[in-house]
Symmetry: C2
Subunit: 307 residues, 2 copies
């Protein structure tokens, strides 16, 4: 059965990634879009806000929440309470408490809540997890540097409180690390650099460890020009694993493999599976590490940021 | 059966609160103390570190971890892995991820892990929760102001990263609020004031709401001279509830009641019950709200703090 879907928040990520993936997924049909700006798309009803959609004659079964994270809780709560299944873009909410409340509501209403960690669907992630099984890991190094001006034009919310700053990309690294490493991670400390005219960090590093004491260090930079890096290196007793290009390319002593970018196709296939099985999928580990980082790491003022 | 207990971290809170409570509780006998400084107490073996205790002939069944929060995870992990029951002073760990890892280890080892939220055992807390049941709450106001120089002399760790700053007392307010209010709380925003020579906030406010949208505002000040305030006011359709003196005094339209300070007696009675029932008691809601506050609230530089 086809699930009639509404996209709430028709911004960059919705247009770049969600719409093409939905178009190629038989399980979903785009029935509506919701955004205060614009007039929507051909072939789908458009509404300025979610209440207008829910009050209308347009029927939807599920809602994909692609609005900035500060707005996700309120929209998801409204959708769940109207009996809709909900997909949350990453990070699923602005706080852990919001996410936990949504989990309770979804359970109470019998709806599927799906926290979409798109990087976990990158081509190299599942093979990386498999290759690491049974190997003794000695250290992990995460290098996540991109140019915010290139990848997030006009997205001022990223540097507002609750917008996550450089953790908006770096939480992708954490979503991969928590998926491929065999033991849970913990934040020991670090330093976050916050532009003096903004509320969220633009660079920094985190010192983490897993529960066996293996060191995991992450370096983040949102001002990287030139070659970008989205790399995770895992050193083991059987040699080095390198997951690069955000998880798309995997190199181990056994060789190199790369796949095409099918992250959002993977998300929607998994969302369809979760709906069909009447279950939720809401791992909060990456968001928990970010909250821990804000609580545990130091903060240093950095130069003003102007886009 | 008497549980043989070791106190790890023989600092202010251990001496002021834990020792008297243990002395009055039949369920526990103090068998050992652990601290790198000093020579301990008459009647209990003393060790400079936990490893020395665990390697010794002194047998203990349980460990109360009273060290600064930055050290709690490592000590608790070591104790649990040695098969000891563990009580954690508040906040239970420096991060949520540490606390969750300990929960897993305790379950794996069949040990009791007990997160001690002492303010929840204040005399007015249980009656406050009971009085609020079934009433329509319209707003909550938390006012938590104390003089760090009076209450935390020499405790420099409080203003280091992971030391929580003003949240060291304010997490007590959150432990009460999450115990007496009927619905979960979420952080919407706020502002934290961080001294320019320290890593943790010294004052600030948080705007929260519960899952029904009831506003909950908390004001925190660690530099309050003169009268101190540890007050929670809950406005309802049946009048105002005021819980003051950190939960010891309760006033409602039905009257005023106050009890003596028996918080740590309550903690050790509950810890004994949990051990007897072979279960853990590890509510992380107060710590989650603090992590959410660090992630969601803004940060403002404040004047240098010198003790």
């Amino acid at each position: 059965m086809t699930t009639r879907l509404a996209i709430v928040g028709l911004g960059k990520i919705a247009r770049d990634q969600h719409l093409p993936a939905i178009g190629q997924c038989d399980a979903f049909a785009l029935a509506a879009t919701v955004d205060p700006v614009g007039t929507g798309l051909d072939g789908a009803a458009h509404f300025p806000d979610l209440s207008a959609l829910l009050d209308s004659d347009t029927s939807v079964d599920a809602v994909a929440v692609c609005s900035p994270p500060q707005l996700r809780y309120g929209l998801a709560k409204q959708a769940l309470e109207a009996g809709k299944h909900v997909l949350l873009e990453k990070p699923p909410c602005a706080t852990l408490s919001e996410a936990r409340t949504l989990i309770d509501i979804a359970e109470d209403r019998g709806c599927t809540l799906f926290a979409a960690w798109h990087s976990r669907f990158a081509a190299g992630v599942a093979p990386a997890r498999n290759w690491l099984q049974g190997k003794a890991i000695t250290s992990v190094s995460i290098d996540w540097r991109e140019d915010v001006r290139v990848w997030h034009p006009g997205q001022a919310w990223i540097f507002e409180a609750g917008g996550f700053g450089v953790f908006d990309p770096a939480i992708n690294a954490l979503s991969i690390a928590t998926a491929i490493l065999p033991r849970p991670l913990m934040v020991l400390g670090g330093e976050l650099e916050v532009p003096s005219n903004r509320a969220a960090p633009i660079a920094g590093h985190l010192d983490m460890q897993d529960s066996a004491g293996v060191p995991v260090r992450m370096v983040m930079d949102f001002l990287k020009e030139g070659p970008q890096s989205w790399d995770i290196v895992v050193n083991t007793d059987a040699g080095k694993l390198v997951l690069s290009e955000g998880g798309r390319v995997l190199e181990t002593p056994a060789g190199r493999q790369e796949g095409e970018d099918r992250e959002y196709a993977g998300i929607y296939a998994a969302f369809a599976d979760a709906i069909a099985a009447s279950r939720s999928d809401t791992d909060l580990a990456p968001l928990r590490l970010v909250a821990d980082a804000f609580m545990r790491a130091g903060s240093t003022p950095a130069a003003e940021f102007h886009e």
